[in-house]
């Protein structure tokens, strides 16, 4: 027998030792009972509903930070959207009267210095803590009603002139057609 084969044979004999390793006495007698008990315990538990499984999936360790980030982004989005809808006191934001001076000559007599550079007349902010201007109810010379903000509609304007020689017959994609 060559040395390699002899060593291989010795190794095979040595590995036979592994088959003499046995677990503590009674282990295999109790083992099937343990398996059965666990199966019965699992069978007794109600199967989680789909929303519970979904909730468990969302709230596991991986998805928790993603969910938190999504909530932050959603909250920030709602805040930005709401602040865009609210009439803004500063003229820098898009407001129907943004391009006009905060105080017009017809208001000057009724506004105090404190409110003159503040909110637009007619807005709720303008009335808080200050005197109500006596002439606020009158319509200013402009397209929009005062204080209407973005919710305001067009102020009805009476047509004073007449267009002669033109008859409007309809409107199509290319605009009004005159005959």
């Amino acid at each position: 027998m060559t040395p390699d084969l002899e060593q291989g044979e010795k190794l095979r004999r040595l590995l036979a030792l592994k088959r003499h390793e046995v677990p503590p006495p009674g282990f295999f007698e109790a083992f099937p009972e343990r398996v059965r008990a666990r199966l019965l315990a699992e069978a007794g538990q109600p199967t989680p509903a789909w929303w519970e499984r979904l909730g468990g999936g969302i709230l596991n360790r991986f998805w928790r930070p993603v969910l938190a980030g999504a909530c932050v982004v959603l909250a920030a989005g709602i805040w930005v959207w709401q602040s865009g809808r609210r009439p803004h006191p500063t003229p820098g934001l898009a407001h129907p009267l943004a391009g006009e001076p905060a105080v017009r000559p017809w208001m000057e007599s009724s506004l105090t210095p404190a409110t003159a550079s503040g909110p637009f007349p007619g807005t709720p902010e303008a009335h808080v803590g200050g005197p109500v201007p006596a002439r606020l109810g009158q319509a200013p010379p402009g397209l929009f009603a005062p204080g209407a903000g973005l919710r305001g509609g067009l102020v009805p304007v009476a047509m004073t002139g007449a267009v002669s020689g033109l008859t409007v017959t309809g409107v199509n994609a290319s605009g009004p057609r005159a005959r």
Partner: protein
């Protein structure tokens, strides 16, 4: 006929010999919800499954837990069991995958929790031939040899250790191991050859 280095060793197990037809009958009953039938399958294969996992982990508590988990998973997967392989191969595959996954995730390596040797070890002719001329204190020597052997096995990579355990300890054929590990027979042979070389190197002082 004298034993050769490549002859599969005889497996010493108290479990009844696996009968594929009997297994399938039990599987069908278990699939229909008969827990007693599955219990019979557990009793039939518990020693082999525990042994496989124990020899891979060299840790009794881990092996007990993993063996239990292997049978639980097998029960859950029973509805999907197809007859393209034997129940034995299918169950072994579950245990092998479970064990390999566990060993990949195990953080504390090298902690052994070895089972005791049975009383027949001192009279095993293979072992007697190895230790009789070394010392009369056979029990102590066998215990030391057991520890050295397990440490050497733990030094092998998991796939190499698995092949050695399945072939040289559990007594499976190359073809069976290839089916269980889903690899080619040639791969099994080459892994076995390399693993034995490594073991011989680690246990050189015992094999002189």
């Amino acid at each position: 006929m004298p034993p050769t280095a490549h002859a599969p060793p005889a497996v010493r197990t108290d479990a009844p010999p696996a009968d594929p037809e009997e297994d399938l009958a039990l599987v069908e009953r278990a699939q229909a919800g008969d827990l007693a039938a599955f219990d019979a399958l557990v009793r039939r294969y518990q020693e082999r499954i525990y042994g496989l996992i124990y020899h891979m982990t060299a840790h009794h508590e881990n092996a007990a837990d993993l063996a239990q988990e292997a049978f639980i998973r097998a029960y859950r997967a029973l509805p999907g069991f197809k007859r393209d392989s034997s129940f034995f191969t299918w169950l072994y595959r579950i245990a092998v995958n479970l064990t390999l996954n566990f060993l990949k995730q195990r953080r504390h390596r090298g902690q052994l929790s070895l089972d005791d040797l049975d009383h027949q070890a001192e009279n095993d002719p293979d072992l007697v031939a190895l230790i009789s001329d070394k010392t009369p204190r056979r029990e102590a020597v066998l215990r030391e040899l057991q520890e050295r052997l397990n440490v050497a096995l733990q030094k092998l990579s998991e796939p190499h250790r698995m092949v050695v355990v399945l072939h040289d300890v559990e007594g499976l054929r190359h073809e069976q191991i290839a089916k269980i590990m889903k690899c080619r027979v040639g791969t099994v042979r080459s892994r076995l050859h390399y693993a034995r070389q490594q073991l011989q190197a680690h246990l050189a002082d015992w094999l002189r």
